[in-house]
Amino acid sequence: MTTPFSSILLVFAAAFVGSFGSVFLKAGAGRLHRNPLTLLLNWRLAVGVALFVASSLLFIAGIRRGELTILYPMVSLGYIFTLLWSRLFFGEPFTRNKFFGLGLILAGIVLLSLGNR
């Protein structure tokens, strides 16, 4: 069974939305303390969870047709956005390892696409 391109696009969209979810979770997690109210009244965490739910709905729509062996690894494209947002919002530096890791992930996605037949 070949995985349709529309499924791949939906999974990419899910990865993009999910990368923003991580940003909000990270921002919220830094404000957690022993007091459980810091968990419950944490709007950043709430937005992060909402984005993850939205991302998961796109993902489920994406995997409803096609193969999980193709579509699940494509979620790793989200790391590329995550690295961009980490740099932009948290000032985390780009390192050689990050570039190398991203290069491998992109190469892996190209190989996967070639295996989609």
């Binding site: 303390h33 409803r64 390892n97 991203l102 992930i105 892996g108 996967l112």
Partner: protein
């Protein structure tokens, strides 16, 4: 409530995992995470005939999706795995935890072939291997 005020100050951080606990926790997360993906696929397969518009067309339809038994079970596992992963990533060494995280790709691939009888070929295998390496490298400490 608190009889030992000297031991608990407001600035004291919550519990911490040791490096070993963090690794074990991430390993468990990869299994939960992979199981969640398989449950998602089970639920999603029933939606294969639906158009994208009718899938998200109505708020009630989205609620029905979220409460569909395999999808709901997948969400519970995924949520649990995400929370545990967040805690483990906070306390553990990223360069060790990232390669462990990438095990999820291995479990999902093996389970998809076993359960859904998905096809495997050299390009797919190479692609997944290279992605696993890529995710592992992402967490490496800045080298020389």
């Amino acid at each position: 409530m608190n009889h030992h005020p000297a031991t608990v100050s407001p600035e004291r951080p919550s519990f911490r995992f040791t490096q070993r606990q963090a690794i074990a926790l991430v390993f468990v997360c990869t299994i939960f995470g992979a199981a969640a993906q398989i449950l998602f696929k089970f639920g999603a397969n029933d939606l294969a005939g639906m158009a994208l518009g009718s899938l998200f067309g109505h708020p009630l339809q989205i609620l029905r999706l979220l409460l569909d038994p395999p999808l709901f079970a997948g969400y519970c596992l995924y949520g649990l795995s995400t929370i545990l992963l967040t805690l483990a990533l906070r306390d553990g060494e990223l360069s060790i935890l990232y390669p462990v995280i990438s095990l999820t790709y291995v479990w999902v691939t093996v389970l998809s072939v076993l359960i859904f009888k998905e096809s495997m070929n050299a390009f797919k295998l190479a692609g997944i291997t290279v992605i696993v390496l890529g995710v592992a490298v992402l967490g490496r400490k800045p080298g020389r």
